[in-house]
């Protein structure tokens, strides 16, 4: 993998993961430095979500290691989790809570509480001014996705792991998200996202990690 400059902050070394009999991720290595991003590609079922969950520490790797700022991450590492923001397929929204309440509680959980005013600001930025106080069960799929993504603009996490962030978003929301991602990279953040679409972030070309569905058996 080329295209990195500077000291790598996040490294994956020889990551392997098996699902049942199938070797889903085979000896995958990459290095990512501040202000750069990785676009994970692959067909359905090729292990994109698995890779992101591996990097987040939700799944244990069969072999290989994830290195964060020179330290190998194994199991529980509070410092790594502090620096990490993971957004999976599920948005993690509670039907009964309003978007503002959602942003406030996720921020408090991450140890960086935000005021309701700041939460509203983040929602406004993603065009949810009118929905800010509605229970999430009344929102459409795309609006729910926007609420989940709005929490990105309040987080101080340096590493963003986003699983298909553009799913269910309309064109305007896609642009707002792109803007958010560009801002994050300019501020020296790291980003790994999976997406079937082509994603262009101004000025910064991604490293491509392509996962194949070759039937490797163990």
């Amino acid at each position: 993998m080329s295209g990195t400059s500077g000291h790598p902050v996040l490294q994956a070394r020889q990551l392997c993961y098996c699902r049942g009999e199938r070797l889903l991720i085979h000896s995958l290595s990459f290095a990512l430095s501040a202000g750069h991003w990785i676009h994970v590609r692959g067909q359905n079922g090729s292990g994109k979500t698995t890779l992101l969950r591996l990097l987040a520490g939700l799944l244990p790797a069969e072999s290989g290691e994830v290195v964060w700022q020179g330290r190998i991450i194994r199991g529980q590492c509070a410092a790594y989790r502090q620096a990490l923001c993971y957004l999976g397929h599920a948005n993690g929204l509670k039907d009964e809570l309003t978007p503002v309440e959602h942003l406030c509680w996720t921020a408090a959980l991450r140890g960086a509480p935000v005021s309701t005013a700041k939460a509203r600001q983040a929602l406004n930025r993603l065009g949810l001014r009118q929905q800010a106080d509605l229970p999430c069960q009344n929102l459409s799929q795309g609006q729910k996705r926007r609420v989940a993504l709005a929490s990105l603009s309040n987080t101080q996490a340096t590493l963003w792991l986003l699983d298909e962030p553009f799913n269910a978003l309309d064109r305007a929301a896609c642009q707002q998200l792109q803007h958010l991602l560009e801002q994050h990279l300019v501020q020296g953040g790291l980003l790994i996202l999976s997406s079937h679409q082509d994603v262009t972030l101004a000025g910064i070309s991604p490293q491509q990690v392509t996962l194949s569905t070759t039937p490797d058996h163990v």
Binding site: A78, R81, K94, E101, L109, R110, G111
Partner: protein, 223 residues
């Protein structure tokens, strides 16, 4: 650290308040079961006084079991469990706070309603106090032990039945000491020993079960 924990409790209480119909079900179940027995057995005060504590405790056990699947299921389905797993705080601490919230929602109401049911079984004043004290110590143990089962059966197809099979044996000591305390008061032996044992069990559960539940949740997230 305590900020996040407090926020979690607040969140769970708020959600419970907004869908209070579902929360009330377990309480109604508890009351109904305890009300049905006298109808089947007959109005003789002596028999009722004898079986009362046991029946109220078994009803509490079943009601607690009924509420258990809700402890983590919603968080698992909507993805907010991942937020908890990836939070910088220790997972066992967060889990403990979730269980506290769960007890406040499903356990505490049982404790508050129990004296009224006790009257129906003609328990004496002292007996009623003991019943409340025993439930106050015992129902948190039910929630704590139950949390392990709820986490282990997360995402399984016939999880509910398996949960009952896993958790009910763990409830046996609580049932014995809890019902025993009320009987001991009635017979004049004094309830101190039973309550002390329940207290000891509660401390043990507080120390051990959050860690075990956290481990089970990590396993559930891997599947």
């Amino acid at each position: 650290m305590s900020d996040a924990a407090w926020c979690l409790i607040q969140r769970d209480l708020r959600i419970a308040w907004r869908r209070r119909g579902g929360v009330l079900l377990a309480l109604c179940f508890f009351v109904l079961i305890a009300l049905l027995f006298p109808l089947g057995i007959g109005p003789e005060a002596k028999t009722l006084r004898l079986i009362g504590p046991g029946i109220i405790w078994v009803s509490a056990l079943l009601a607690s079991l009924l509420a258990l699947p809700h402890l983590f299921a919603a968080d698992y389905q909507d993805g907010s469990l991942e937020h908890l797993l990836l939070a910088p705080q220790p997972l066992a601490w967060l889990v403990l706070n979730k269980i506290v919230a769960h007890w406040l929602i499903t356990g505490l109401p049982l404790v508050l309603v129990a004296p009224v049911l006790g009257l129906q079984y003609t328990l004496s004043g002292a007996g009623l106090w003991t019943l409340v004290a025993a439930l106050l110590l015992g129902t948190p143990i039910l929630s704590l032990f139950g949390a392990i089962g709820a986490a282990l059966t997360l995402g399984l197809r016939s999880g509910g039945t398996l949960l009952a099979l896993l958790v009910l044996p763990l409830y046996v000591p609580v049932l014995i000491f809890g019902a025993g305390a009320v009987e001991a008061t009635a017979s004049g032996l004094g309830e101190q020993a039973h309550l002390s044992l329940l207290g000891g069990l509660l401390i043990l559960a507080l120390l051990g079960t959050p860690v075990a539940t956290a481990a089970a949740l990590r396993l559930a997230a891997e599947s």
